[in-house]
Amino acid sequence: MTDNNNHLLEVRDLTVTFPQPSGAVTAVRGVNYHVDKGEFLGIVGESGSGKSVSSLAVMGLLPSSAQITGDILFEGTSLLGRSDAELSRLRGEGISIIFQDPLSALTPVYTVGAQISEALLLHDPKLSRQAAAARAVELLRIVGIPHPERRAQAFPHEFSGGMRQRAMIAIAIANNPRLIIADEPTTALDVTIQAQILEVLQRAKDITGAAVVLITHDLGVVAGNADRIAVMYAGRIVETGTVDQVFHEPTMPYTIGLLRSMPNLATAGHTRLVPLEGRPPSLGNLAPGCPFAPRCPIAVDACRGTEPPLAALNDPQGKDARHSAACLRMDEIAGGQLQRAELFPRPERVAEAERADLTPETVLSVDGLVRHFPLMKGAVFKRQVGTVKAVDGVSLAIRSGQTLGLVGESGCGKTTTIMEILELAKPQAGRITVDGRDVAGMSAKERRALRRDIQVVFQDPMASLDPRLPIQDIIAEPLTVHGVPAGARRAKVAEVLDLVGLDPAMGARYPHEFSGGQRQRVGIARALVTDPKIIVLDEPVSALDVSIQAGVINLLEDLQERLGLSYLFVAHDLAVVRQIADTVAVMYLGRVVESGPAEAVFDDPRHPYTRALLSAVPVPDPSLERGRRRIILDGDLPSPTETTPGCNFRARCPLYKLLDADQQALCRDQDPALRPVAGTSAACHHAASIELVLN
């Protein structure tokens, strides 16, 4: 490294160890990195990689039991060993941090304005309360909160998630810090809100001139914004370099595998995903050698003996020494002896002979489904003040052997929709037919029999498996309902375990003995045990680490082809949906705003909301990402209680603003119905003029 006076922040050989009763855990094992003035560094890693711990160490916010060694230099002076009071003077003034979960990061009992002023008053005792309050309002305006004077008086629970994260950014930039650390700032947020927050963060960086360290698990988030990237694995940095170097010439097999396993909007749907088998090691008892060796397809014996250090790449052109990696065979990869594309084998599709024969028929159809919740108000006498239109006339149809992807942001009604379907009861309005039979008129007995045909897989594999039962009992539970004898149950459980790629001998184990990916396979096995026709998949991979996702998605694809299953696949991750879905329905405020074949919807969306949604998804490819134009939607998802005459997307619509007065009048007066436009159906009066919105 060069002269450290030039570095704003320099972390040298940082290790963080947490003493635990069962043995010490070293969460960060010798991390070196630096950030220069005004630079944007992205730190990427999966959960447990030590990325957040290392940033909290910089802030001095780790629990006092943590043992920290190495050195952290900020503006040339060491931060380690300083007292809490000394560090407090620096925190917020020199370095500030934005946390992941905006829901819990603000004190619930103080107003947002007061919490921003607090940051100002702490570092400027001469500032008057009035001046601080005025400045707080100003800061809220900078981060794009409408009506900041009124909003400063509001409490955190009155803010939406995106607005709270904006307030967090306002606090972070209040004292014009030289360094802002953003720890997964958008992970808890929807994709359109994520795009807004990233834009605000970029604006904050421009205004304050601060350097930014963005910590994330999502390679796409850093692709467009960061200057340099550091990839962490098992408590160490395993590769670092400029964005282009890391994305285009990754040299550590982990980085290569991670990039290849991510479903990517630009490539998804055409090729199968490449899974990164195995899982990160536990930091409690690391085996010697490279921690990635057990998952690495090119590991040699030497890899299991010594852990390779992070070393500068031997660059044949001698361009620069910024690109470093920690791999014994990195020169072979960089030199081309090992082809990056061939490191991880791409799995084959299910052979033609093994595929199920299908007669194309509609197995599930939903017609005009409505689910309204009354909104009650009043403490003493309850009265209905409005209606939450959670689901407001949704129609869907799934054919056998096909996947319908249902996408939309949180609060759009997609979860309510599938819950209504799974209840198999008469809906408030509309019709649900399974296998051509209307569920409304069914007896309890018929309904129970029908449950064999429609099963569900939930998002969080830990939450969906009863921790107190061995997995064979969990998987067999649907069969007990249908009175299958014990012997047949055992045989069937062994069969489905084999089908999802788990050893049937594992049946006696409990859920906690499995990894996240394996647990989700158990959840899938339970859904398969009754030989269903339809499986409802509620965000089945979003709780899994990126490197695990690909394996589960491939499994779902294989099972579909082998067993002829139909999937109703609900997800907010558009790239995953693009990968697996045949048809797609996009929901907004309880309505389907666009639906059609996945190809058409993703490649040529006709509804402005679909277009904004797609443009907000970050693509893990820096050159593509830099060339993209984002459509940033204004504001948040409006409350579903508000009744807007006309089109309910109007207030946020990027197209609406570009229309002339007559066309706008149409949007205001008439509620658009779903109608065929080009290859898809869109609920927009002006779907034909969509090209006005540049993409």
């Binding site: 947490f18 711990v53 249908h482 499995f514």
Partner: protein
């Protein structure tokens, strides 16, 4: 707290199966036991409780004074070699009386505490899972029972129970000791009901009672065990208070409460009549509540973590 998510150890259950062949990952109950083993409070309580129970069983020395014997030569004597805890005004041996009283108090506590937890578990799970009007009615009834001190109701009901055997007291104490825990179980059940594994069972068509007995009660069992342990102490306290004022155990039966009541008048002048039984009582209840509190800490996943 995100730092903790970054630490694989904070969820020891995440241990990969393949990484450590031969060593099974730690299950929840093992983990709780491991935590318990490291808590001094747990050992203090367990040893204390064990000693008290052993003493109650084996402490009565054969051929020495029985609790009904009267030593007319040593009336109102202070602790001595013949009467370790002294004697009462009419020459009863306080040591023998304390052991007999302790036996009764322990039996009442050990039965009434768990019985109350059982009632709490069933009613709480029922209210929480069914929700709606059932829930409203049950909660309202619980609140009604909580409005007034149960002690007053015990006292009011005592004329009935005086005529019955002391065993009836166990049921009386259990009948008024379940309300707060039932509320806790109800809240826990309501959040369990929204958990995916319960939803999954429902969507598979599993019946209500099966879901409660197979999924909900096992998942709140740790809470119930804690409550049962703490309930032992609470039941003993309630019993002694009632007996102290003459509303609980009736002569010729003896419990710690009746003993304390007899010793009360002389508490200031001849403290041994009061202090010895009182010390045994406090020892017993304290041990039970230390075990209960240690259990609560061991079950709580965030406990033991340094939280600053």
């Amino acid at each position: 707290m995100e730092v903790l998510n970054e630490l694989p150890i904070s969820e020891p259950i995440e241990e990969p199966v393949a990484a450590r062949p031969g060593k099974k990952p730690v299950s929840r109950s093992r983990m709780v036991l491991n935590r318990l083993r490291r808590m001094p409070r747990f050992w203090v309580g367990l040893v204390g409780l064990g000693l008290v129970i052993l003493w109650a069983i084996f402490g009565l020395i054969p051929n020495a004074w029985n609790f009904t014997d009267l030593d007319v030569y040593n009336m109102g004597s202070s602790p001595s070699a013949t009467h370790w805890f002294g004697t009462s005004d009419i020459g009863e041996d306080i040591y023998a009386q304390t052991i007999v009283g302790l036996r009764k108090s322990l039996i009442i506590g050990l039965l009434a505490g768990p019985l109350a937890s059982l009632i709490a578990g069933i009613i709480g799970a029922f209210a929480g899972y069914l929700g709606g009007a059932w829930d409203k009615t049950i909660i309202w009834f619980i609140d009604l029972l909580l409005v007034l001190p149960s002690l007053f109701l015990f006292v009011l009901l005592s004329p009935i129970f005086k005529s019955l055997s002391w065993v009836a007291l166990i049921f009386l104490l259990a009948a008024f000791g379940w309300m707060i825990m039932a509320r806790v179980i109800r809240a826990q059940t309501m959040s369990l009901r929204e958990r995916d594994f319960i939803k999954a069972a429902r969507f598979m068509g599993v019946g209500t009672w099966t879901i409660i007995s197979r999924h909900i009660l096992p998942n709140v069992s740790s809470l119930l065990i804690i409550d049962a342990t703490l309930g032992v102490g609470a039941a003993i306290l309630a019993e002694t208070t009632l007996s102290f004022f003459g509303f609980g155990i009736q002569a010729p039966d003896v419990s710690l409460g009746t003993l304390l009541s007899a010793g009360q008048g002389a508490a200031v002048t001849r403290p041994w009549l009061f202090v010895f039984p009182a010390a045994i009582l406090v020892w017993t209840v304290l041990s039970a509540s230390l075990v209960g509190d240690a259990l609560r800490d061991a079950v709580d996943p965030t406990s033991g973590v340094n939280r600053d």
